[in-house]
Amino acid sequence: MAGHGVSLEATVRLSLGTLALDMELAIDEGEVVALLGPNGAGKTTLLRAVAGLVPFSAGHVRLDGKTLEDVATGEYVPTERRPIGVVFQDYLLFPHLSALDNVAFGLRSRGMGRRMASEKAVQWLDRVGLGRYASAKPAELSGGQRQRVALARALAPDPHLLLLDEPLAALDATTRAEVRRDLKQHLGSFPGLRLVVTHDPLEAAALADRLVVVENGRLVQTGTAAEVTERPRSQYVADLVGVNLLKGQADHGFMRMPGGPVVAAAGAESGEVFAVIHPRAIAVHRQRPEGSPRNVWSGRATGIDLIGDRVRVRIDGEVRVVAEVTTAALKELDLGQGGQVWLSFKATDVGVYPV
């Protein structure tokens, strides 16, 4: 933990409908953290709790060493007095106000005079490249422009923490990459803490220094994008990254899975472990293969998906895995839905790490 005091520390426990949220979240000085998880995992609820928009049953929120909320002591700083800026999912720009008045809203709310607030708002619009659109109403702006106005509006009052809820979800695919690049740049020039909520791993990896993976209201895994990609710790993350994840008991070069299958895995020594196998490392055959691979299983091809010039084949057998082959290889295999196959992979292609 950085000891400079500019950090967020939140512990939140609450239930809301079917969601039971129980999470700890810490953001260090200058850090961009992405909260990554499937829909309904509780990401947005956590963000709203930090902003003071959702009451929780236990826990606390501390920012810069100051307590914003603590259920145990009853302390509560209302949303409007927290130094937190929020970019909402649909941006929620006030439809009756111009871009300028939207950006000036937070400054005026915090007591700045009309003239000065307008001047500062113009500066902010210039910074996000929208100086010419000061008098435009939100309805007259494109999705990307609205997002930038929302960012300027959230940043103008100089918050210590910036929360972004799915900042790119409302955009269409063609503008998303460009807006993401801009957003990364603007996030980089903001000195405070930044928390991005997203369900898109690409977005998370592109924008954040560190990912925090949330599932069913709980933290599953945290680390840099590279760390998370290399060592997924849940089926959800493995699916996002596109790798096969198995779990079992390590035993001197092997991993025993619940229900029987044994995977030869170099580096599996002892204890409960995850094993990750890249789909490209799995070979697919119509006949039982001869030779060196230590892991050979039979199964049935239950799904065949074309992705670019590669084909992902889902194979259900003693273990369920996805293999990736070229379209040419698939043609050679003469494989259709439901076809009987053999799969093989080397013990050295299995990445093993403790649970």
Binding site: T79, E80, R81, G85, V86, F94, H96, S109, A154
Partner: protein, 261 residues
């Protein structure tokens, strides 16, 4: 595009229904003594009644806004026991015969009424048979239209805009005046106009609670009714004026309230 033929079983009753509304209007327009229009309209009693009607109906709308918007906000945003019952009670005048409303007002605020006697003995205030009484009677009958319209607006607005405003440091008052009210402006406007139009046409509660004193409590509808006995021609002209005002309101509201896109 081929036009669909309207079945005769629909067309005939529809035409009769339309005629039912159009014929009385036609009668009013055709039989009105247009030559005497200017004289009738500039007669001092008419001018007085018109002035009083505008004053009282606009006052009733103002009172409706000041008291009705907070009430609508309570109904839309606050969960409290008896809310549905209270809403039913405060919108009862919409279905209550106005004369009954006037009697109820008399029993409550009349000189010997439940609160009226206290108002009279403590402050020396008498409400019945005064212009203030006219405003009260009109507010009583008309405000429910405003309450219901504004409540519907508050319920259908996206409350996340209010949350966004709070994250920008806006106090509750600032959120209400700068975000909530502008966002429900169409409902607010429609509610106010409906309330005003209902107040302008108010007859039963007004004549019961406030009586019929020219210049003090005699509004346009009262004048129309009484002139019918003494000077029918003048009452026709005044009816036309009221008709015109109603028509203008209806046209103005067409897009906002009646849902004609």
């Amino acid at each position: 595009m081929r036009r669909e033929r309207v079945p005769i079983v629909v067309l005939v009753p529809a035409a009769i229904g339309a005629a039912f509304f159009i014929l009385p209007l036609l009668g009013l327009i055709v039989r009105s003594p247009w030559r005497d229009a200017v004289t009738a309209l500039t007669a001092p009693e008419t001018v007085e009644a018109l002035k009083l009607s505008l004053l009282a109906s606009l006052s009733a709308t103002a009172v409706g806004l000041v008291l009705g918007v907070p009430l609508a906000w309570m109904y839309a945003r606050v969960e409290f026991p008896g809310r549905d019952l209270l809403r039913a009670l405060t919108t009862l005048p919409m279905v209550l015969p106005p004369v009954v409303g006037g009697i109820a007002l008399l029993l409550a605020f009349g000189r010997r009424g439940l609160f009226g006697s206290w108002l009279d003995s403590t402050f020396g205030i008498t409400l019945p048979f005064t212009t203030a009484g006219v405003v009260m009677a009109e507010t009583f009958v008309a405000m429910p239209f405003l309450i219901l319209t504004v409540e519907a607006g508050l319920r259908s607005m996206d409350r996340r805009y209010e949350e966004a405003a709070r994250t920008l440091g806006a106090s509750r008052w600032r959120v209400f005046t700068r975000v909530t009210l502008p966002l429900i402006a169409p409902s607010l406007f429609a509610g106010a106009v409906l309330c005003w139009a209902r107040a302008l046409g108010e007859f039963g509660a007004t004549i019961t609670f406030a009586g019929n004193f020219p210049g003090i409590t005699q509004t346009m509808p009262l004048a129309v009714y009484l002139l019918l006995a003494t000077n029918p021609e003048a009452s026709f002209i005044l009816s036309l004026v009221l008709l015109l005002i109603s028509l203008l309101v209806l046209i103005g509201l067409r897009h906002r309230w009646l849902g004609t896109a």
